[in-house]
Amino acid sequence: MTSTHQVEVGTELPALKIGTISRTTLTLFAGASGDHNPMHIDIDVAKSAGLDDVFAHGMLSMGYLGRLLTDWVPQQRIRSYRVRFAAITPVLGQPTATGKVVSIDEVDGERRATLELAVTLVDGTVTLTGDAVVAL
């Protein structure tokens, strides 16, 4: 958790490196999240749709980015959080979640930081981009 008086435009959140996404990861996430789409857990269904393999749920990566946020500020201070899913995350992908402060504004009587967020794979592919607004 950060001491908010040090936050300024350009402040970077400590990057969150995630381990390798395995098929077990996808199966656990399907059960825990309730997203039972077979495209993420059943290679036969993925192949029937013309893909070589299953791929990770977008919401799994959004969950990792959410951890980046709640590692940095208490969850009660998150006002909004949104992402665009820019590329598929393959099995065995190794995502890293990053964020930095791009603006600080006074809104509804509180000081709020807007964070620019991304999830990037080892080969440089950006899988998610997004932003969050947090109260400081």
């Binding site: 825990a32 309730g34 789409n37 977008g58 951890r67 006002r79 909004s80 959080y81 899913f85």
Partner: protein, 152 residues
């Protein structure tokens, strides 16, 4: 197949989930969460929460409680295998906790296409509320439908 513009305004069946600490621990494990605030009730209480807090993205799971979760897609003539999650947003109003009974009320708010119909977009807004009607969060989901057979 083009999504019928009349789909806009449709309310999908509401779903309800009573969130329990076991499900939240399972979700924490699935996303690799190591902060005990999300798995240990004593730590959560010491931090001022009444029970384990529901993490920011779990609120998307409330509408997945529908036992036939791709029915609304199939009903539009869409093959669920060609559906991708395009965008997701959350606007937060209050923290939910283990023990809360949460209701998701999804509504289709926009439908449009790009690339000559090769990509179709469905925008869905979902309010998540507690049993007493108090607001937890408002969600917006953009679903992308790939139409492999569409010609320009």
């Amino acid at each position: 197949m083009a999504v019928d513009p009349a789909f806009v305004g449709t309310e999908l069946p509401a779903t309800t989930l009573t969130v329990d600490s076991g499900r939240l621990r399972f979700f924490a494990k699935a996303i690799g969460e190591t902060n005990p605030l999300y798995t240990d009730v004593a730590v959560a209480k010491a931090a001022g929460f009444v029970d384990l807090p529901v993490p920011p993205t779990f609120l998307f799971s409330i509408e997945l409680e529908n036992p036939d979760q791709f029915r609304w897609v199939a009903d539009q003539g869409i093959d669920p295998r060609f559906v991708l999650h395009g965008e997701q947003s959350f606007t937060y109003h209050s923290i939910a906790h283990a023990g809360d009974t949460l209701t998701a009320t999804p509504r289709i708010v926009d439908v449009y296409s790009k690339k000559g119909g090769a990509l179709e977009f469905i925008v869905k807004n979902t309010a998540v509320t507690r049993g007493d009607g108090s607001a937890v969060a408002d969600l917006e989901t953009v679903i992308v439908v790939r139409n492999p057979g569409a010609t320009k």
